[in-house]
Amino acid sequence: MAVQSLENQKEESVSTPLEKPLPLDHLERVEAWGMNTSVCSYVYRPTTVEGIREVFQIAKAHDRTVALRGSGCSYGDASLGAENISLDLTRMNRILDWSPETGVIRVEPGATIRNIWQYVIEDGWWLPVVSGTMFVSMGGALGMNIHGKNNYGMGPFGEHVLAFDLLTPAGELLRCSREENSELFFGAIGGFGMLGCFVSVTLRLKRIYSGQLSVYAFATPDLSTLFREFEARMGSADYLVAWVDCFATGKALGRSLIHQADYLAKGVDPTPTQTLRVKHQELPETILGLIPKSIMWRFMKLFGNNWGMRLINRTKYVQGSTLGNKKTFRQSHAAFAFLLDYVPNWKFIYKPGGLIQYQSFVPEATAEACFRAQLETCQRAGIVPFLGVFKRHRKDSFLMSHAVEGYSFALDLPVTKHNRERVWSLAKELNQLVLEAGGRFYFAKDSTLDSETARSYLGEEALHRFYALKRSCDPHNLLQTELSRRLFGTDWK
């Protein structure tokens, strides 16, 4: 206990004067999607551009930074700013303009993929690139330049953006497109919310002639076959994705189930008006018409450990390589695309420690050896990914791009109170493999990179161009996140 003498009780406080506090009723706990980290932030949810300007002003007045946040679908700390302002854009979710003739749509940044596909599908349109969840906001989709299962053919989300309006912390509202402010266009897309706040986004959608896709599912017995199949099919397939059993070892290492999906050409679907309805696309709420999917994660949690997941992976592979092997079937766009939404709250099986998704992008020449080494390293460390997802990619021209002409491998690693430090050191080992293979990383998934690794894969030239943009759009360094501080510090030099 501190002793305070009676003689001094009347003396003035020695505390220094402080600024006025931010209103406590704005304070909320804000969590990474992977539940591996959370912070307390003062959350503001404006509904207008003026509202965003006001939040910037509040931040400046209180000497706080601002972290932009859409639906909070980044696995790590990309939208978190501890004890600072979280500018949550979920209320700015209006469709501003839609042309069913041209397929061009203009939306606010909080509009989600779900909002858009449900709005346009009856007119025969779909988003050309979607993530594994439909809850990603447009602000997040642009900020991270998300990709889908068709990246090798359609590129990232940014390639389908015609233009956007960006409100910079400096107060300028800039129209950006490939023709106008083009450097900013290629910097802000994939710029992880560091250059300004998207306030409207104009996209060109893709024409579809059916609400269904033709899906072909088959198994591959090992990693080499998986690569061969992708190489052979990427020229013709509209979508390609593989689930990998990360528990398999030896000759079976990398065994997987591939799903190839193709759009139906005009006239193939006899009832397009019906399949293009939202109701046809909606994911079922029960399994086998009996068990509500909302409680499924509670059963799945029983298997949320190494032995349980080993069993599930093995069962899935055995089923997919026997009964389900070489099967063609029709599936709605939503059911094929949004696998992450199929079982609501499935991530809760990772509670309380959460998960990280370790995703690396490696050039085709070195990818197989790199991913083989990654699987072996994880298995040796005793931290086997519960889920592995494999995709094909191509290069793009965005400044902070994560893509390569090659492959990506996404590994879901469980985080617990006891293994947290080991997971982070495992990720460090994996980083080394990726760097040696000439690979890259993705801010939306990252939780573990360090500054040196990020600088190494991005390269000095791209960084200098990005820093110059940052200094010009955000001279007071208002936009910061835990991720930006972790990887790039605060001086942008």
Binding site: A2, V3, E11, V14, V39, E83
Partner: protein, 249 residues
């Protein structure tokens, strides 16, 4: 062993139990804000704590009687630390009181520092923790709050009221997952008890701090330090008033 907390605030960290708590938390890798009135003492402690090169201890000179400073100071500390998940109120005074002395200034000082300062801080902290559904609040009360002792009327009052206040806060925000721990130490060897001579079951500040952190980690509602006091006060609390009066404690 690494700390279960990442960021802690200790009010009353310039000596005694508060100082020792700071030392142990920093040693466990926790970032700690040391709040107390005496800047020079804080600087002495923090230079020792940060001697290893890692700046895990920060200091904030503040007099708990200046309650108007608390909202801004608390927010500033939270910002500097990058969050707060443990709050400890360890500030307290016990000026020497003669058996027949009735000094209102001394009594007021004890109520202001031991009780009103605690309420000022914990109101702010509880609101934050209740709203964000997390955190641990530790209040260093005292076994003195268990009975009204003739030797220290205002001190016993301040600690009894603090204990009741902590219970009420626990009942208010415990349902949101916030832990509120009332610590009741017996005599601890600190500057506050220097000159009072040898007392029963007296322990070092180091041992007291270590037991307090264990109780906080377990989220115990009431923790006697050392534990033996629990059984002693189980008896003493139930001694009828007319008997207790004759004990002249």
């Amino acid at each position: 062993m690494p700390s279960v907390w990442k960021q802690a605030i200790i009010v009353g960290a310039s000596s005694g139990i508060g100082e020792e708590l700071a030392r142990q938390l920093v040693a466990q890798g926790c970032r700690v804000a040391l709040v107390a009135r005496r800047q020079e003492e804080l600087e002495r402690i923090v230079s020792a704590l940060n001697a290893g090169g890692v700046q895990n201890a920060l200091i904030y000179p503040h007099d708990v009687r200046h309650s108007e400073e608390i909202p801004t100071l608390f927010q500033k500390i939270a910002h500097d630390l990058g969050g707060v998940d443990l709050f400890i109120y360890a500030a307290g005074v016990m000026p020497a009181v003669e058996p027949n002395e009735y000094c209102f200034e001394k009594d007021r000082q004890m109520i202001e520092i031991n009780l009103l300062g605690a309420i000022g801080w914990i109101n702010e902290v509880a609101q934050r923790f209740g709203q964000t559904h997390s955190g641990t609040i530790v209040g260093i009360s005292s076994v003195a709050g268990e009975r009204g002792r003739m030797t220290m009327p205002a001190y016993c009052t301040s600690k009894a009221a603090f204990t009741t206040y902590l219970e009420a806060i626990r009942n208010r925000i415990g349902r949101y997952g916030v832990k509120v721990v009332t610590v009741k130490p017996g005599p601890v060897i600190t500057p506050m008890t220097a000159g009072l001579g040898k007392m029963p079951l007296q322990i070092t500040a180091e041992r007291a701090a270590s037991e307090i952190l264990v109780a906080a980690k377990r989220g115990r509602a009431n923790a006697f330090v050392p534990h033996t006091w629990r059984w002693i006060f189980l008896i003493l609390r139930n001694v009828p008033s007319f008997v207790f009066k004759k004990l002249k404690l």
